[in-house]
Assembly symmetry: C2
DNA sequence: TTTGAATTACGAAGGGTTTCGTATAATATT
DNA sequence: AATATTATACGAAACCCTTCGTAATTCAAA
């Protein structure tokens, strides 16, 4: 059900990272990468509010927006959709592809190994 | 550079799986999941050809389409874009999320462990 | 040969996203 | 108080994707 456009996701991530923010806050962050007008960001955020994926506090002149979706849940959802559309539902083939990129540090590998051990223990039961 | 719409990816996957195919072939495969007209599939494939992501042989009446993008490269590309848009570029956090879903078999885990060993050996050098 | 079926070509409509210009309102500055 | 700055609201345009109807073409069958 969670379907986010590219910009919506970008804005969401900023709201997740920075917490409740004004349009200006978000726009400044966005402007680091991208070049578009303030009212564009405003409009996007208004639409997000109207869709219910963001909520806003309009009690003062400068409205404050917050994410209305949980970061965890949303990412899980996006990932599962991505896996099914691009890797035919096989999460392992995705993992193989992801790790194969060559830019994974030893620390990260250790984390993953630890997780695998945990999963294996659970599988045995 | 590789940007595929949802339907384009679906068609691409069919072309990868089945090799060079007619519109009818593709349409029949697509119709297993989805309900849309034959000319819709035709149009999509024509557009894909015009974009250069598919090529077609028009020597006989029934045109034969083939994928013009490599499956490997394309998926690698899509994945890296997905990781950067959704997981801030951290492939390990994606892997953790993916494995955390609980539907990974022992065999798959073994594959992943083997890959990790390989990576670790390479890292040491 | 005429009819019918399958194929491609094409245009247009509908939906969503992104972008921005302009208007209006609230606040700050001088 | 007058002016400038900052904010929201709104509509419209541009773009892309998806969908389909219709026409034109080719081929096969009756």
């Amino acid at each position: 059900m969670t379907k986010l456009s590219e910009n919506e996701l970008k804005i969401m991530q900023i709201l997740w990272d920075q917490g409740p923010s004004s349009v200006r806050d978000v726009h400044e962050k966005i402007s680091e990468d991208k070049d578009s007008g303030y009212t564009t960001t405003l409009k996007l955020m208004q639409i997000m509010a109207s869709k219910g994926i963001a909520v806003r506090d309009t009690s003062s002149r400068t409205h404050i927006y917050s994410a209305a979706l949980s970061e965890q849940k949303t990412k899980k959802d996006l990932l599962s959709r991505f896996i099914s559309s691009t890797f035919k539902g096989s999460s392992s083939s995705l993992v193989l592809q992801a790790l194969g990129n060559g830019n994974t540090t030893q620390k990260e590998l250790d984390e993953i190994k630890a997780l695998i051990s945990t999963i294996e223990k659970t599988n045995k039961k």
